[in-house]
């Protein structure tokens, strides 16, 4: 066969290539196989790591084919691109056909075709056709079948359908995949991901971008007022909480706490509680019980601090850790009179220190930095909408169908004969039952 290189033929070749379901199957299989590889080879480690784990040769090989960051590699993205092109062309290719079936003039279906429909029933009645139809119509519409009628040369043709639009279901499913991918692309172009570690009492206006050394300017400040961990009785963590304040030009705008699963969004940027760091510094608050004067200090471990106005000196001289967490601390406390007080206290608790005639409320806790994940993702609503569409589309495709019924009523030798046929595009057995019940009711009318 000679190859014809005229432009339309090349176009057709390309079009048909991308419209084929075979390509879809091959692409889906390839993506699956690639993904399997991507789960077996640990991803996103350094070249040295792979060299140590496997061998330098293998590390080089992995790097050459981007197998160390496969899901971000050019060729994996190309596969997703191929899938998208396939979806677009295939949908465009089939849409006119689907549309035609939705808007088809079913009353123009020739009688010859109708009688070949397997799901059919026929019966006769002594009533004249017009009267018979008048009897049939209310019962049909009572069952949700609003009939349209047309006179033909042989008799009266009636038609009704349900769920013609459900044929769009597959189209919605395929479009939704594209919407999700668009959301992902938007997110990767317009959004960013980063992280920040903010010690208690401090604020930041830049965050570290994930996977790059760059810093991202937030355009406002975030201050960590406090970080707290709550524990269950068995010692498992129950809650990580950060009290955050948003500031713009040093003005406090918003004060809120975030927890895991309860992030804060400000100006499209979302802050997630993700980790923390415990310091060997302590936040110590001292209050003079007489006049209520209070002052808070950040005190490094085994360093002496001083509240000059009161002539008080104090420090943390020892600490007991429970894993990462400092559970108890030993305090050294002195003022001008008498020997210094030395005592143990639970980190996070408050005690009264009695000096000669003076009483101080002393509270101390370990200092933390809160670790935040920071993300801006303008694509996420596309992704979520796509997901909703996907579910709706799947539901329509799997559980709903396009059902049609025709009735043909004609008169022959003073008896009226009625022929009824029904067709459906899926779930044929289910429709069989509905159809036979309906014909039973119609037959029993006279």
């Amino acid at each position: 066969m000679a190859i014809n290189n005229s432009p339309t033929n090349v176009f057709n070749l390309v079009w048909n290539f991308f419209a084929s379901v075979k390509l879809a199957l091959i692409t889906l299989c390839t993506i699956s196989l690639a993904s399997i590889i991507g789960t077996i080879i640990p991803q996103k480690e350094s070249l040295a790591w792979y060299a140590k784990k496997f061998s330098p040769k293998i590390a080089q090989f992995l790097d050459l084919f981007s197998l160390t960051d496969m899901f971000g590699s050019f060729w994996f993205k190309a596969l997703l691109g191929l899938l998208s092109a396939n979806l677009i062309i295939c949908s465009l290719d089939r849409f006119p056909g689907i549309w035609k079936q939705i808007v088809a003039d079913n009353l123009a279906t020739p009688l010859k075709r109708l009688v070949t429909i397997k799901r059919n029933a026929s019966w006769t009645t002594s009533q004249p056709p017009k009267k018979a139809v008048d009897q049939l119509l209310p019962l049909l519409s009572g069952n949700g079948w609003k009939m349209t009628t047309r006179e033909t040369e042989n008799g009266l043709l009636l038609f009704s359908q349900k769920g013609a639009w459900t044929r769009l279901g597959v189209f919605v499913v395929h479009t939704s995949i594209l919407v999700i991918l668009i959301g992902a692309i938007l997110g990767s172009i317009l959004g960013f991901k980063g992280s920040a570690m903010i010690p208690e009492g401090q604020s930041i206006e830049k965050i570290q971008s994930v996977g790059a050394t760059a810093f991202i300017d937030l355009g406002f400040q975030v201050r960590c007022d406090a970080f707290a961990i709550e524990y269950y009785q068995n010692g498992m963590p129950k809650e990580y909480r950060s009290d955050l304040t948003i500031l713009e030009h040093d003005r406090e705008i918003l004060h809120t706490s975030i927890k895991v699963n309860r992030p804060l969004t400000y100006k499209g940027i979302t802050f997630y509680q993700s980790s923390y760091e415990g310091y060997k510094d302590f936040i110590i608050t001292l209050a003079d019980k007489e006049n209520g004067n209070t002052k808070t200090f950040t005190v490094p471990f085994q360093k002496q601090s001083e509240w000059q106005e009161k002539g008080v000196r104090f420090g943390v001289i020892n600490a007991e850790a429970d894993g990462e967490r400092i559970a108890r601390i030993k305090i050294w406390f002195a003022d001008q009179d008498g020997t210094p007080s030395v005592f143990w206290m639970d980190s996070g608790s408050q005690v009264t220190v009695d000096r000669q005639g003076k009483h101080y409320l002393f509270s101390a806790r370990q200092m933390y930095a809160t670790g935040l994940q920071v993300a801006m993702d303008p694509g996420v609503w596309w992704v979520y909408s796509g997901c909703m569409l996907l579910l709706l589309g799947l539901f329509t495709t799997f559980f709903m169908s396009h059902r049609k019924i025709w009735l043909f009523v004609c008169e022959k030798n003073n008896t009226t004969s009625i022929f009824m046929a029904g067709s459906v595009n899926k779930n044929k057995t289910g429709f069989d039952g509905i159809f036979s019940k309906l014909t039973e009711k119609l037959r029993n009318l006279n």
Partner: protein
């Protein structure tokens, strides 16, 4: 009586119903049929009670949460869903032979849950990341999907067995393979179960993504678990397309249902216990 005892009884009762269904299939003692169904329903009720009691116990411990948050609890829910789904199929298609291919999975799941060291049975409080309604939605949707795929694999196995030369055309109730439902019907039920599972797995992946996004700000990070759930999803998408547009039928779809099941098991189990070994960074 506490929840572990109830769930222990459930395991044994599923074992007995498994034996009854297999006996029904192999020895054709028709009279056993009603008995098998009764026993399965009773086991299901005991299990439901057990799950409910476990829920209640967690509240009594002051750490109340739905019993769907660790390996043990999810396997128990998995078994529960398999039985609910199987009973629905038995009722709808009036066929008890399918029980011999579905109920054993529920028994195996329960047996695994009760003897494995990987599945700790204690009720433990929820760490902060797990305190999310999206997680509950995620576990429920995923496991309904997994259970459907498990039943579909059982049906696929049944198809493959029936399709061997001897069984193919036989509908003679007296032969072993003849008593299996007609190939056409097995294929139909397999397909229906698979699309049911597909829609739930889709919902499961979506709710998982929403959960991840609310916890870490990333709805998809290609971690092995996510990736394997997507691979599983693709396998079923491939099966649907091959069947719908390329006319793949019967035997091939049956095999795909079986392959899909292995992918489900790997997504669920293998990723945690096989890939996690490959991904252990302990040495660094």
């Amino acid at each position: 009586m506490n929840s572990s005892q109830l769930l222990g009884i459930t395991t044994f009762t599923y074992l007995f119903s498994t034996l009854l269904y297999v006996a029904l299939f192999v020895f054709k003692v028709k009279k056993l049929g009603k008995f098998a169904t009764c026993l399965t329903v009773i086991a299901l009720l005991i299990q439901t009670l057990g799950i409910g009691l476990r829920w209640h116990e967690s509240y009594q411990m002051g750490i109340g949460h739905a019993p769907l948050t660790n390996m043990y609890e999810s396997v128990v829910f998995f078994a529960w869903t398999i039985i609910v789904m199987y009973l629905a199929i038995e009722w709808k298609f009036k066929n008890r032979i399918i029980g011999a291919f579905a109920v054993p999975f529920a028994f195996l799941a329960m047996a695994y849950a009760s003897i494995s060291n990987d599945a700790t049975k204690g009720i433990s409080p929820l760490v902060p990341a797990l305190q999310s309604n999206w997680l509950i939605a995620h576990v429920i949707t995923c496991f309904i999907g997994y259970a459907a795929f498990t039943v579909a694999a059982g049906l696929g196995l049944m198809y493959v067995i029936k399709d061997t030369g001897a069984g193919k055309r036989s509908s003679d109730d007296k032969t072993l393979l003849g008593s299996l439902p007609p190939l056409q019907q097995i294929e139909d039920i397999t397909h229906k179960t698979m699309i049911f599972g597909f829609i739930w797995l889709t919902a499961g992946i979506i709710t998982g993504a929403v959960w991840a996004n609310s916890a870490w700000g990333t709805y998809w990070s290609w971690d092995p678990k996510e990736t394997w759930s997507l691979i599983t999803w693709f396998i079923y998408a491939i099966t649907l397309h091959a069947r719908h547009t390329r006319g793949w039928g019967g035997k091939r779809v049956a095999w795909l249902a079986i392959i899909g099941f292995f992918s489900v098991i790997f997504t669920y189990y293998g990723v945690n216990f096989i890939l996690s070994g490959l991904h252990s960074y302990g040495s660094n």
